[in-house]
Symmetry: C2
């Protein structure tokens, strides 16, 4: 009898995958894979409840959320994601830290464990790339960025792969975060100009595409004032992830076509909180599946309301696990205490054989 | 800079802890620790939402649930638990398979990963021991068991530690499960008599304490008919874990004092589904905190409605992690991809140093 083990990826494994493929190829593959998943997405085959979580002040504001996705392919992903805005300054670690656990949905076996911190940043970038390719003018050259933290890096990277960017104009309420952005995205080869709060209106007015990715607090209101924009402005609003938190002025939303990643969640936590149901446009899957019908939208204002969707996490997790397996990376671990006799928990004690090999032959547990 | 690692326990580590302490001492310590946690439990300091999950038929009925508990001590547990009743027969693994992930609630770091399969069976036993010590006659000698799967083993074990048991009478709809029970619980030294369906009424009528731990289907109704019982019968009803699923006849519940582990969840998934609010007695924490006021209840019918509470999982997980650490067991793993620059996900690629040591000094991350 051999144990049904789980594949554990550690940071060096993830680093090896990214180094091997290169970050450009990785984000391109992820964007393509997400597009393909959305093209065949059928809501009746999946169960993806809006995320839920606990909030606390311990000692400062933080929250931990669980984002499950039964994707209908015999697998369920449970992402657990922490959001602790004081992390970078106080603890030297990212605001968003996360882990992904992938479960077999025939018997409940844990298939794999992998970091979700990097994957969250990558899949959020890839989702914006998918939406941008459909909704933005393909000639977009100027990218405005409001919020220059970790998510800005992967947003800029992913957008640079689908748009002929020539200039990035960036703003952050923390001047040091804005100042360091250019070095962090130097690899994309697009110059970054940092502006202060007095130029925020100009940043928005001059952008072909705008990305908001802030840690603004719930109740603080939009992160820029309404004002003139290019007629074809496309906004990727990715910072909204809490009830009461949003980034885009409602007047701008009302002038545009607002497309949520996941409507049920966006009306709770996204820009869509500010809208009534009839003001909300097609979701990301509809955009991909009926892309040609939205071509005219490239000439008008559009907003991708990206709250972060567990389906995106599933696609990213599966891809990372498969890439790691192909490279021979990762460790097979026996997390589950599966006793030789499934009706006797203590039979675990009687044998060094800790689990039943019949599981692997009965189910179709991949990775 | 050193990485904030997570402690991963594998099956051999758990086996080592249990072998080192012995199963008697482990369940005794867990029962004591759970009692102590309940004694100081203050609902306003914790956030434990009722569990939620996804259900599917893939190919047969199964579900995966997440059970979070922010316990107010700077930690949050997220248990993920699968319930796949065909597992023992089809896959040779337990019906209930589970993993526990413990998170630091100051910054979101994953502190530890440990199996929840064995711990679920153990903490469910310990919870019944806590309730039984308060609600059952201390002279209870005959234990009736309906449902002879994995949970029966740890129920019998835990109850044998708090009651002077002399006889166990067991029934299962699957005769083979009933037949093998005696061997599985031989270590408790109490003889087991197996009865068929025609003796189910006698089993109930003769029991001082009754334990129901079945995989009966939602909507199937109680697992035994109402009938005569001893006046002091105490029931541990532990099988209810789904809307529509319950095990105990409502008439019996109405004659007794029904005490849920976790009221908000028990009204959704437990025996309490069958009752109105005014028919529901004190919960487990109230029993422990005001135990002396319930002494008279030992002379009457009492029911512990055990749906399985994430607080119990937290106590069991913490105890297992601490015991493993003391024994020097477990592996420190770098699951999280924490880049040297928290604002640059890709800085992970530039350095073999994958995370920030300041986290450990800033937070109080134990284990």
């Amino acid at each position: 009898m051999s144990a049904p083990l789980s594949l554990l990826l550690e940071a060096p494994d993830v680093r090896a995958v990214l180094s091997h493929l290169g970050r450009d190829r990785f984000i391109d593959l992820l964007t393509a894979r997400l597009t393909e998943t959305l093209r065949t997405f059928a809501p009746e085959q999946v169960q993806i409840p809006p995320r839920a979580g606990v909030q606390y002040a311990n000692p400062s504001f933080g929250l931990l959320e669980w984002m499950p996705a039964y994707v209908g392919a015999g697998e369920t992903l449970v992402k657990v994601v922490g959001y602790h805005p004081t992390n970078p300054e106080v603890r030297g670690v990212p605001t968003v830290i996360s882990t992904m656990c992938l479960y077999d949905a025939t018997g409940g076996h844990l298939i794999g464990i992998v970091d979700g911190t990097l994957l969250t940043a990558l899949r959020t970038g890839a989702a914006s790339a998918v939406a941008t390719r459909i909704l933005a003018s393909p000639h977009s050259r100027v990218l405005g960025v409001i919020g220059c933290g970790a998510q800005a890096v992967t947003q800029i990277h992913a957008l640079s792969r689908v748009l002929p960017l020539e200039r990035i104009v960036a703003y952050d309420v923390r001047p040091d975060a804005a100042r360091s952005l250019a070095a962090r995205v130097s690899f994309v080869g697009v110059p970054v100009e940092v502006v202060g709060p007095e130029k925020l209106g100009d940043l928005v007015a001059g952008a072909d595409v705008l990305c908001t990715c802030t840690s603004s607090a719930p109740g603080a209101g939009p992160v820029f004032p309404d004002g003139p924009t290019r007629p074809h402005l496309h906004v990727n609003a990715i910072g909204s992830d809490l009830p009461g938190k949003f980034e885009v002025p409602v007047e701008l939303l009302r002038r545009g076509l607002v497309c949520p990643d996941f409507r049920e969640q966006a009306v709770l936590e996204g820009e869509c909180q500010q809208l009534t149901a009839e003001d909300i446009g097609p979701d990301l899957a509809a955009l991909v599946q009926q892309g040609h019908t939205f071509e005219a939208a490239r000439e008008r204002i559009t907003v991708f309301d990206s709250t972060g969707w567990a389906l995106e996490d599933y696609v990213a997790t599966r891809m990372m696990l498969e890439c790691a397996r192909e490279l021979g990376r990762g460790r097979r671990v026996a997390v589950e205490c599966l006793p030789p006799d499934p009706k006797d928990p203590y039979s675990l004690l009687e044998s060094a054989e800790s689990a039943a090999g019949s599981y692997l032959s009965a189910g179709r547990v991949r990775v």
